[in-house]
């Protein structure tokens, strides 16, 4: 099973060394093999020990892995036509695939790990390989942003490890060497002798994760990087890397909930509201697709974190799934949308001819409207359930009115984002001049995959599966 999981990535890694003109064609299709083990993992009885106590599959990470695999497939497909939209040399192209494979391996480790250390190692591997993927673009901006990513990513990653060690230190007196095991720690969280040490550790870990996801105060950092790099990188970020980060957050916060729920909630609540405050106003001013989607991705991650700590597990997971499918889809389509210049929003959805073109603009409109959680987008349901969970927390807390006010502010901030997206959508669809643009079958295919995945998310069996997690 383990071999099967890593096989596609390893094959891609190997093939990327073959210097041939047509190597990138089979690469995309190899990625489909990932579906076999991930689907199998979904089906298997949980928990399934993949590699001792180190890699354990449960409902949560099987779901996250499956989602990220679909994203991986979609991105691999869309990569086939990367050279049609941007200038990229053959060598760089293959190296991109190589690092993509490393990235993928690292993240599969991270997602499946039941061990803080392994989780961290996988994440670090992914982070470092991303640096190179950003660098594939030979522009000055990309070079600068690659360094930026290197530095800030390294800091963030170090913070996460620092926090992990602090948590380890707090739990070692009761658990010994096994204190890095998520499940064990969760089971014994109440026995931790020095909750303060644990909480500091948790705070450091979450700060690291938040920085990595581009929360306050690093909001524009991620957006700038995604702007500077090729569009599939952004898709990988939001679809796979962030899933690995968020699953870590899920696990850590689960333990923190056991230790002291109020502290956790207050911390995450203040942090995410602050983030959304900043992000909503930044979105209001954005002038290009990349930053728009990237910032909206930050907003969604903040919401997911918030929903999760509010106890809205189902909402958080649904939102996560929707985000993981929608954002890569949108990022991938920016490649086509921006073919007439980066800052041309007006009329970006016009001028698509033929069946492919029609399907393309239709899908992109659907994705755009789904991002702002119009029904029947999964985000509609997840936001409803998530805010419901928050209201419930508010009702059981002491500061009901203050919480209500905060939730209201949050909703109004989301309205600002809504307004911007409507503006962008209308402008794309109805304003500006018509330039004819070309859409390639592979990208369209990946968009269709995402669309189907989205539809699958709101199917009752999937919903029930999600409700059954935890």
């Amino acid at each position: 099973m383990l071999e099967l999981l890593f096989l596609p990535a390893l094959i891609i890694f190997g093939l990327s060394f073959i210097k041939s003109r047509k190597t990138h064609k089979p690469l995309a299709f190899i990625s489909f093999f990932i579906l076999i083990p991930t689907a199998e993992l979904l089906r298997l009885p949980k928990p399934f020990h993949l590699l001792g106590d180190y890699l354990v599959v449960d409902d949560l990470n099987a779901y996250v892995l499956f989602v990220s695999s679909i994203v991986g497939i979609g991105v691999a497909l869309a990569l086939m036509t990367l050279d049609k939209h941007v200038e990229v040399s053959k060598n760089a192209y293959r190296r991109f695939y190589r690092f993509f494979a490393i990235f993928w391996v690292g993240l599969i480790f991270s997602i499946l790990s039941n061990h803080m250390g392994i989780y961290w190692i996988g994440l670090e591997l992914a982070t470092l390989s991303t640096v190179y993927m950003i660098k594939t673009n030979h522009s000055n901006a990309a070079h600068k942003e690659a360094w930026n990513y290197m530095i800030v990513g390294a800091i963030a990653i170090s913070l996460i490890l620092f926090g992990i060690i602090l948590i380890y230190a707090s739990a070692k007196p009761i658990l010994g060497e096994d204190a890095m095991n998520f499940n064990l720690l969760l089971a014994h969280a109440k026995e931790i002798k020095s909750p303060f040490l644990f909480e500091i550790g948790f705070a450091v870990v979450s700060v690291g994760m938040f920085v990595k996801m581009g929360f306050f105060p690093m909001n524009l950092w991620l957006a700038n990087i995604e702007r500077a790099s090729f569009y599939p990188v952004a898709a990988l970020f939001s679809g796979i890397l962030e899933s690995a980060v968020i699953i870590g957050f899920f696990r850590f916060s689960k333990i923190a909930m056991e230790v002291n729920y109020d502290h956790l909630f207050t911390f995450v609540f203040i942090y995410t509201v602050l983030t959304i405050f900043i992000v909503s106003f930044l979105i209001f001013r954005t002038k290009d697709f990349m930053r728009l989607f990237s910032l909206s991705g930050v907003e969604h991650m903040a919401l997911i974190a918030l929903f999760w700590v509010s106890g809205g597990t189902f909402a958080a997971l649904l939102h996560f799934g929707a985000h993981a499918f929608l954002k890569p889809a949108l990022f991938l389509s920016t490649g086509v949308l921006e073919s007439n210049g980066k800052y041309r929003i007006a009329g970006a959805l016009r001028g698509y001819k033929g069946k492919k073109g029609t399907l393309f603009w239709f899908l992109v409109s659907l994705f755009l409207l789904a991002v702002i959680s119009l029904p029947p987008s999964p985000m509609f349901f997840s936001e409803i359930y998530g805010f419901g969970a928050m209201i419930n927390v508010a009702k059981h807390g002491y500061h009901l009115l203050a919480m209500m006010a905060a939730i209201l502010i949050l909703l109004i901030l989301l309205s600002i984002i809504f307004y911007k997206f409507i503006e962008v959508y209308q402008s794309m669809k109805y304003e500006g001049e018509v330039h004819s643009k070309k859409v390639y079958a592979s990208e369209l295919f990946s968009l269709v995959i995402f669309a189907f995945a989205l539809i699958a998310l709101i199917m009752p069996p999937v919903m029930n599966y999600l409700k059954g997690i935890l």
Binding site: Y54, H115, M116, G117, I118, W120, I121, E124, L125, L128, S129, V131, Y132, K135, H138, H143, A146, W147, M150, I151, A154, I155, S158, L161, F162, I165, L166, Y168, A169, S170, K172, P173, E177, M180, K193, S194, F196, L197, I200
Partner: protein, 198 residues
Amino acid sequence: MVDFFIGLFLASLITALFTTRLYRLLMWYSFNSFTLGVLALLIGMKLQDNAMLITGIATILIKAVGIPYFLKSFSQKFHFVRQITPEIKVQYAIMLIPAILVFTFYLAEPITNMIANNSNYVAISISSLFLSLLLMMEHKNVAPKIIGFLSMENSLFLLGITATDGMPMLVELGIFFDLLMAIIVINLLFHREEMKNA
């Protein structure tokens, strides 16, 4: 003995903050890593922990010798700017460093029930984390930033060694692996730049 080396670790880090030359900085980093390695060996011997001993030796080999050497060769290969003046004024830094130390001890004060039963170790690790961040902040050039990042790694190890009496072997090896990977990536980054300039 352990406390003495911890003191040396901190001292070397603080000195590194005031350094204005790249090679001097590398030297202080190397010294810093060396004290860390010695610490690991000392604690490892005390605890009869073989893993810790391996870690100590690896630290000395990789961090105290290998990485400074690589970096030095990079700097010669890619013609780094070797004159590195801190951006933050010395006057501020003088105030800031004690403040950080005071703060971290204040922060760590409520920590109880440690395995090594000494919350001061945590405080020193956190403060060295802050100091390495400071190191990254005060330089605009990439090279000192990398060293800052590496000393952050060191402070992590310090925490792992002193406060928790060593991490699981797997994790430590993983960290080393990633460190090597980081060096490769850094090399590549410089390399690409070089190629483009040429």
